[in-house]
Amino acid sequence: MKNRNILLCGVGGQGIITMGRLIGTALVDKGVKVRIAEVHGLAQRGGSVNVHVRFGEDVYSPLICKGKAHAVVALELIEATRYLSYLSENGILLVNDALIPPPLPKIKMPTRKEILEEFKRLNVKFCLVDATKIAIKAGSAASTNVAMLGGMLALNLLPLTLQDVRRSVKKTLPSKFHKVNLKALQMGFEEVVKLKKTL
């Protein structure tokens, strides 16, 4: 398999590191070589977070360079914009339709509309999905990350099936969270299958 690079990003606390673990576990179970780079520490919540996911036979470096990500998967719109420079030419941006303002006094915030217009102006191939709404429907906003993972499968960003990821969810997360996450996974998948046509 040729090397694939996917950058996950969002706000600390959204479950981005867990997303990486779910993907990594599923890939390892399929015998795929994977390297996932995370950053921990400083503070547990609220900061800008990115996780580099790389897989394929010739993967050595754990880091994705700018302009080399086949896809950027963002759980928040500002962070999507922040990490857009990582996207390769004609790469895909899968982005959650959520705008989370940083808790800083007196800052100027871009609006949702401005961000989406910026994507269009730059000719980004993007898929906007309200994963938080899907997750709430599935039972908990905390499953937004897994709903996005469903969306990644719908866009064929990973050499994995829904079944592979279901197994990984069961292996990785505590059992009381299985039901809601499996539901969010399925619903996220189905929603993005629908949206895909507009991409």
């Binding site: 995370e38 503070a43 919540r45 880091l63 006094p105 730059l122 906003a141």
Partner: protein, 622 residues
């Protein structure tokens, strides 16, 4: 995670670098492990603590890195294999016994993990701890991936015992916090029944022994340098001789991919170095025997390998042009593009880094923040109000922990952040050298780690200073490890909980008060009292602002299925004065279309915002 850590041999699992190192220690049969938590090293000992009872090893969180390494040295003196882990700056704290360890050598295998942090992702500096190896005559090994880190850790125990030397394992953030495929090996039954091996000639570093031990340490390193060409983690890939690359640790990954990207991998002669101090002399010689052209040394941070290689080349009469930090940065991390650019420059080729999407929209920064409900936020707010009410212009030395975030607006109450415990110590100097009122802040874990000697100094030298200990009961920033005040140990159970107020009183501080930062008015009053005491009496005062870490309390409530009683903004009463957002800045409170609102999923129900709202517009949701 525990189940993977103890999974049977032969299984291939996804492990984080730190977990892989922990597994390697278990495969080596360690009996004792100790550490003070610090990013990016924490998960090593954390992983071991979770399986300690099951596998029968002793694991502890020590009060600081000096004590941690001493515990490991003690175990090694009893012939037990021991592990100690710390972040790079932790080695500074441990460096005193470390230097003696370099002379004495070991009995039981001893691996010291120094987790370095190029790019200072969560550290005060980017120091390159390979210098410590050279300084202490302790060999340094750099793993490149979780998989290699596991095997290397295991094998280093054999090397440590064969040469009777402690060894440094030096992963960096991009090994510690990288997850990858790891094939598990056989777990080894730990040896814990140690017996102290009395040896005056090695363990007693009086001058009579030290002079001899110094020579022995140098001989040990020389002997190792002559054998490391056989160490399987160092290897040579031959090319066509036109050019060569020497790469160490994590940098090897970037070098290989860069060579592939440039389409010159086959041509390149590549020396992959895991032992960077001492260098494997014979393998380096063989490398140069196979390269006629230029050579690039690829390593992160300081040119330690490069210098070693250049000295070696000079001694051996090798005349290849050797590049390194002339083409590569000496600061921050490397990546494939940076290394590819350097190789291309050396070879006179072109290499462009293409960025296809460059947004021009101005984005707000998103620094890490104190969590909703965090007692530190309330304490900083109270300190700000108290300073204003008491009309004092103070200097605010801070320290290292979550509360360093008091640096960011709107609090701006961290004027200094240096190293563990230094806020108080530096504050003592400021108080003596100026007329400024000094109000230092420190966390509970940092107080135990390095704050106590400075506090004793303040009492002894009667220095007027107010110390506010922000006590949330755990070492929070690194992920809630217990400390001497927590009441439990690394492996759980119960432990004596040392009270900071008792320590302060015991060392002679006369003004000691405990406050609850959730009670705003009372806290402000106490802080003002303490400030007035310091100014009037010219003596130190200590305030302990105590509230358990909000994240722990919140998670516990969720786990127990307890309801979180959240607050809301009554729009009829809200005058949009902005105090809750612009002075308090809780992440749960936000402004949308000029309306002040609270995100119910973020609110932890601490109620501090309701107290600070001058218009009583924030209330409990029904």
């Amino acid at each position: 995670m525990t189940k993977y850590l103890l999974a049977p041999s032969g299984e291939e699992v996804l492990l984080m670098g730190n977990e892989a190192i922990a597994r390697g220690m278990l495969e080596a049969g360690i009996g004792v492990a100790s550490a003070y938590p610090g990013t990016p090293s924490t998960e090593i000992i954390e992983a071991l603590s979770r399986v300690a009872e099951k596998v029968g090893i002793y694991v502890e969180w020590s009060t600081n890195e000096k004590v941690a390494i001493e515990v490991a040295i003690g175990a090694s003196m009893c012939g037990v294999r021991a592990a100690v882990a710390m972040k790079h700056v932790g080695v500074n704290v441990a460096s005193d016994p470390l230097m003696s360890l370099g002379y004495s050598g070991v009995e039981g295998g001893l691996v010291i993990v120094t987790a370095d942090d190029p790019n200072a992702h969560s550290s005060q500096n980017e120091q390159d701890n390979r210098y410590y190896g050279m300084h202490a005559y302790i060999p340094v090994f750099e793993p490149l991936s979780p998989s290699e880190a596991k095997d290397l850790t295991r094998d280093l125990y054999d090397l440590s015992e064969r040469y009777k030397t402690a060894v440094f394992l030096r992963p960096t953030t991009r090994v510690c916090h990288v997850r990858g495929n790891v094939v598990l090996g056989e777990l080894k039954k730990p040896e814990r029944a140690g017996v102290f091996r009395r040896d005056f000639s090695r363990w007693v570093l009086l001058p009579v022994n030290s002079r001899r031990l110094h020579e022995e340490a140098i001989n040990r390193i020389e002997k190792l340098a002559d054998s490391l060409h056989e160490f399987k983690y160092n290897f040579l890939k031959k090319g066509d001789g036109s050019f060569g690359v020497i790469a160490s640790g994590i940098a090897y990954n970037y070098a290989v991919e860069a060579l592939m990207e440039l389409g010159v991998y086959d041509k390149a002669t590549v020396l992959k170095l895991t032992s960077t101090y001492p260098l494997p002399r014979r393998l380096v010689k063989e490398f140069f025997d196979n390269v006629e052209g230029k050579v690039l040394v690829v390593e992160e941070l300081d040119p330690i390998v490069e210098w070693g290689i250049k000295v070696f080349a000079k001694e051996e009469g090798i005349e290849n042009i050797i590049h390194g930090k002339d083409l590569l940065p000496r600061v921050r991390e490397l990546d494939t593009s940076i290394v590819a650019s350097a190789i291309a420059r050396m070879l006179g080729k072109n290499y462009d880094i293409n960025v296809y999407y460059k947004p021009t929209l101005a984005l707000p920064p998103r620094p890490p923040t104190l969590c909703p409900g965090c007692g530190h936020r309330a304490a900083f707010y109270e300190l700000k109000i108290a300073s204003a009410k008491a009309k004092v212009k103070a200097v605010y030395p801070g320290d290292i922990g979550c509360y360093t975030l008091g640096f960011f607006p709107p609090y701006r109450l961290v004027d200094i952040s240096f190293s563990m415990g230094s806020g108080l110590g530096i504050g003592l100097g400021i108080a003596k050298a100026s007329d400024e009122l000094v109000v230092a802040t420190i966390g509970d874990s940092t107080f135990f780690h390095a704050g106590i000697p400075a506090l004793i100094n303040a009492v002894y030298n009667t220095t007027p200073i107010l110390l506010i200990v922000m006590d949330n009961g755990v070492t929070a920033m690194t992920g809630h490890q217990p400390h001497p005040g927590s009441g439990y140990r690394a492996t759980g159970g119960t432990a004596t909980s040392l009270k900071i107020e008792n320590i302060a009183k015991a060392v002679g501080v006369e003004f000691v008060e405990v406050l609850d930062p959730y009670a705003v008015d009372a806290s402000v009053k106490k802080i003002i009292e303490a400030m007035e005491y310091v100014k009037k009496e010219n003596k130190p005062a200590v305030i302990i602002a105590r509230r358990p870490c909000a994240l722990i309390v919140y998670r516990r409530k969720i786990r127990r299925g307890e309801k979180i009683h959240v607050y809301y903004v009554d729009q009829d009463k809200c005058t949009k004065c902005g105090i809750c957002v612009n002075l308090f800045a809780c992440p749960a409170i936000y402004v949308e279309e000029s309306k002040y609102l609270i995100t119910p999923t973020l609110c932890t129900g601490c109620g501090v915002c309701a107290q600070i709202c001058p218009f009583k517009a924030i209330g409990l949701r029904g």
